[in-house]
Amino acid sequence: MKQVVSVSLGSSKRDHDTTIWMYHQEIRVTRRGCDGDMDRAMIMLRELDNRVDVIGLGGIDRYLVVNGKAYEILDARRLAECVQSTPVVDGTGVKAVWEYWVINQLVEQKIIVPDQKVLLVSALDRFGMAQAFYERGFATVAGDLIFASHIDYPILSLQELEKFARRLLPEMVKMPFAMLYPTGSAQEQLSFDPIYDRYFAQADIVAGDFHFVRRYLPDELSGKLIITNTTTEEDRRLLQDRNLRTLITTTPVLDGRSFGTNVIEAAIVAATGVMPGQKQWEDAVRGAELEYTVTRLDRV
């Protein structure tokens, strides 16, 4: 059986071990969280090199790809360079192809409609999703500056998002990753500061990275829809308690949790041998028969 392991900078509380079927192959999928400890992640990556089929990097993106231009996060490169032989992926290739497609499918199926207002908590790490929302005419607030940097400035267009990316990312990718994104126990922390509640209140759809969503989650989510992934049963209970109407996870739910895109990407690479960036990549993602999951929490 092929085996993929996701080494995550996130909390080890979210570790899991299961098998999935892809391209008629059974693939063992393991997640190992390092609680934000870069050194521990490096040791783990060196140990896994040459012992598993593909390694996923979780809790960190190696590349932020904005309109075809890739910005490499230096801390992620340091992690990836610990591995000499085994392919290492970060989920960027799945996000770019699959999440763009998912948003378009949700529109086609009228599960979401363009007159709904969207809060995309972070767009620079999921440009495909952002692009789909803006192209389809959704009034979309990209909250990268708000939720990652606590600068109360909503980004309102794809052009502005691209401009910020060109200006900020070449330097910001050099920063310690923990300054850009919560890692380890920081992922478990909840902000009880209601300062950004209004952005949630104004949105019909909240989308993007679940750690940002969870951290700033307001008490009341009646009538709202969240599009995200990496949710667990506990997360679903939390969202239900806050009266969320619908949860859509862009990656399949197995054993009660939706996987990170790095895990799915690692499984696709293990099953097909096609790497992100290769010309067959888009076909490899589409051929994986991924399914998003729509859950009505108000009817559970």
Binding site: L145, H150, R166, L168
Partner: protein, 113 residues
Amino acid sequence: MTMLQVLENFARECNSNDRLRQMNREWNRTIVIRETDSGNAYWLRSQEGTIQSGEGSQFEADLEVEGSHDVIRSVFSGEMSPTEPYNAGDLLVKGRQDDLMRLDIITLLIWGE
């Protein structure tokens, strides 16, 4: 150009940038900047979206920035982003991480690309 002129120019660039004025409208902070080699100190104050500058260290600082004259001048004149000297330990910043990040973003929005 003197350091005070560099900082005055930095403040002017911020104040003439509508996006930065909007971003900083609720960021009320005092930044004290110290040159480790000369001992000179300067300040920047952000108040309701407007940045002012001056000499001395008479204010209580929310954010303290320390480095050599050359590093400080390069950062606040846009010749160098703060990230590299910060990562190399040539620029010391004491204060909240959010404020450091914002200072970085301000310099990149003025001089990035």
